[in-house]
């Protein structure tokens, strides 16, 4: 049983690494955002001069403790990547259905949960890996002249690192599970990509991935507060940036990182269970 789970997860992973274009394709998106969008879209510069505040202080007030917009945004990209890297997972299920591989596994004497479980484990590994690549690359950019980069302005603790990893893993699991379930639910790529776009854009735009939620209209702020990407990136930002304003002395976030992490893990748990149920229904013989 565990042998089947291991073998199927191994197959997913080896396939990914053996098709260089798949790895490349999932890297294009975050790399372009970091190298072009993040450099061009300098929201901090638009703030202008605020009397009595240094530019960094002004940025920290606007971006909830981050010393500049790029730092704020590059951490948000991790949540963004969790979604975009997971999109491929469900599409792969559809192609495997068409090619007969899903039939091969459903006709084999393996517990049904291994079929979904192996894909979830191998699938969530990708956004986790890409998330770390994004953080690492953003941090490196700070050392390249002419580029904006990720600047950490607080003491990162060991517990903080664990929290960041857990947040990354939970948001990756949540979206991998969701899109995998959609793959098991739909038979055609058209149907799949239709529903994926319907989910994808609202999830990204109502999150705190690209911009602070503080400037949103109140109704959107409420939605955003419950967005799984918002919860995960809040955990990361709270651990990488100053959490208390040097200007006003008040907290940038109403809750601690652990509270957001709890929310993120709960989401992850819930979405994995829901997706598992959907996938089991899709696999059940008619």
């Amino acid at each position: 049983m565990l042998e089947a789970l291991r073998a199927l997860a191994w197959r997913e992973t080896i396939r990914w690494f053996r098709s260089p274009f798949a790895v490349f394709a999932s890297l294009i998106f975050p790399v372009m955002y970091l190298l072009l969008f993040g450099q061009a879209f300098n929201l901090g510069k638009l703030l202008g001069f605020i009397p009595g505040l240094t530019p960094t202080e002004a940025a920290m007030e606007a971006f909830r403790g981050a010393p500049n917009y790029f730092s704020y945004f590059s951490v948000g990209m991790v949540g963004f990547v969790a979604v975009t890297a997971s999109l491929f997972l469900g599409a792969n299920v559809i192609f495997d259905k068409r090619l007969g591989f899903v039939k091969k596994t459903t006709a084999a004497p393996v517990p049904r949960f291994t079929i979904f479980g192996s894909r979830l484990i191998a699938g969530a590994f990708r956004p986790v890996l890409l998330g770390f690549l994004v953080l690492g690359m953003a941090a490196l950019l700070a050392y390249i002249p002419g580029f904006n980069g990720l600047t950490v302005n607080t003491q990162v603790t060991a517990l903080g690192v664990v929290e960041i990893i857990l947040a990354l893993v939970s948001v990756s699991l949540a979206f991998s599970a969701l899109f995998l379930a959609m793959g098991f639910l739909f038979e055609s790529p058209e149907g799949y990509f239709g529903i994926v776009n319907l989910l994808n854009l609202p999830i990204l735009f109502t999150s705190a991935a690209l911009y602070p939620t503080t400037t949103m209209p109140p109704w959107l702020q409420t939605i955003s507060a419950f967005n799984p990407i918002t919860l995960a990136v809040n955990v990361m930002r709270l651990n990488l940036f100053a959490s208390v304003s040097p200007v006003t002395g008040s907290d940038y976030y109403p809750y601690s990182a652990l509270v957001y992490l709890g929310g993120s893990l709960a989401y992850s748990f819930g979405l994995v269970l829901l997706s598992f149920w959907i996938a089991q229904r899709g696999l059940r013989p008619r």
Partner: protein, 335 residues
């Protein structure tokens, strides 16, 4: 030991009240190759999918390897091997890796899997290609790999759903050679669906023809051929020779004799063994024969006899592509 495949009044109804399998009963005996033939959308693949637990029956009973498919799906899965019409191997993995994956799916230990993989790669003549990715394989190599994956876990019953679809004649003959070889070495019950009637004729011990979800004929290929009238022996005597009808009718095994001028059309059983008797009968009456020809009915005629001759553009195959492919193939056969 019960028969490895038993169905009793098996029914499968799809939404929209489509009765894909409608009250089908048959037995497959230990060690035999059982052919399941029928036009597109007749219910062949649905039957295979019910027997291999990919679909649940709507009614009736189906037992495979002594186990009810509804009550013990996992045990049934463990005891059957599958070769589908499409390739289920992973293109990005090598031949060896694909077999290792199959071994893991069927619960073989890694050492057992490696031993059997090595053995099967050799037997299927895939040794040289073992470390190559399957996407570089030819159609015939892919089918051999599918066959290897299907029997890796030593199943009681091997199901093959149109295993030679799309293969060239060498590939088709090759695959059947491997199946023949395997059956010499182990007791293997094979359930095969095919559109190639010549394959069914040469490979199958028994055949069932299904149409509109119902079995319309069953028996050994020769029994079925006899059912539609037996062999046709045609004699052509010299012009103005004596009438042979009475003499020919007396020969044991002759069913009927029709005369048209100097041509005699003799319906009979096992025509080849009657050739000497007819020749000597003609000689004893002093009639010189100009030609003797024997036509044995082919399974094609049996098939058309039982499923009708009308062309079916409106199949109910799984997909349009599939349907087109099969229609083309069917056209090819009838040309």
């Amino acid at each position: 030991m019960p028969d490895p495949i038993v169905t009793e009044n098996l029914v499968k109804v799809f939404p929209g009240d489509v009765r894909a399998v409608d009250d089908v009963s048959f037995h497959v005996r230990e060690g035999e190759v059982f052919g399941f033939l029928g036009p597109n959308g007749a219910g062949k693949t649905t039957t295979v999918q019910v027997l291999t637990t990919l679909l649940t029956p709507s009614g009736g009973r189906a037992e495979v390897a002594g186990l009810d498919v509804r009550a013990h799906p996992d045990e049934v899965r463990r005891r059957v091997g599958l070769v589908f019409q499409e390739s289920t191997s992973d293109d990005e993995l090598t031949g060896r890796e694909n077999l290792q994956l199959s071994g893991a799916l069927y619960g073989l230990s890694p050492s057992e899997t490696n031993r059997r993989t090595k053995d099967l790669l050799t037997r299927m003549h895939l040794d040289d290609a073992a470390e190559r990715r399957v996407k570089t394989y030819s159609g015939g190599m892919r089918r051999r790999l599918e066959l290897a994956a299907g029997i890796l876990h030593s199943p009681h019953v091997l199901f093959m759903d149109e295993p030679t679809l799309g293969l060239d004649p060498q590939g088709r003959a090759g695959l059947w050679d491997y199946v023949r070889q395997l059956r010499k070495e182990m007791v293997l019950t094979v359930f095969v669906t095919t559109h190639y009637l010549d394959e069914a004729d040469s490979m199958c011990d028994r055949i069932a023809i299904i149409d509109h979800g119902k079995i319309v004929a069953a028996g050994s290929p020769s029994e079925l051929k006899e059912k539609i009238g037996g062999d046709l022996l045609t004699l052509v005597a010299g012009p103005d020779s004596a009438d042979l009808t009475a003499v020919l009718q007396r020969i044991p095994g002759v069913l009927s004799v029709q005369r048209r001028d100097s041509e005699y059309r003799i319906k009979c059983r096992q025509g080849e063994s009657l050739v000497p008797a007819t020749v000597s009968a003609a000689a004893s009456t002093g009639v010189a024969l100009q030609s003797v020809s024997l036509k044995k009915p082919s399974l094609d005629e049996v098939f058309l006899e039982f499923t009708g001759r009308e062309y079916r553009a409106e199949g109910s195959g799984p997909t349009d592509i599939d349907k087109t492919m099969r229609i083309n193939q069917w056209r090819g056969r009838r040309r």
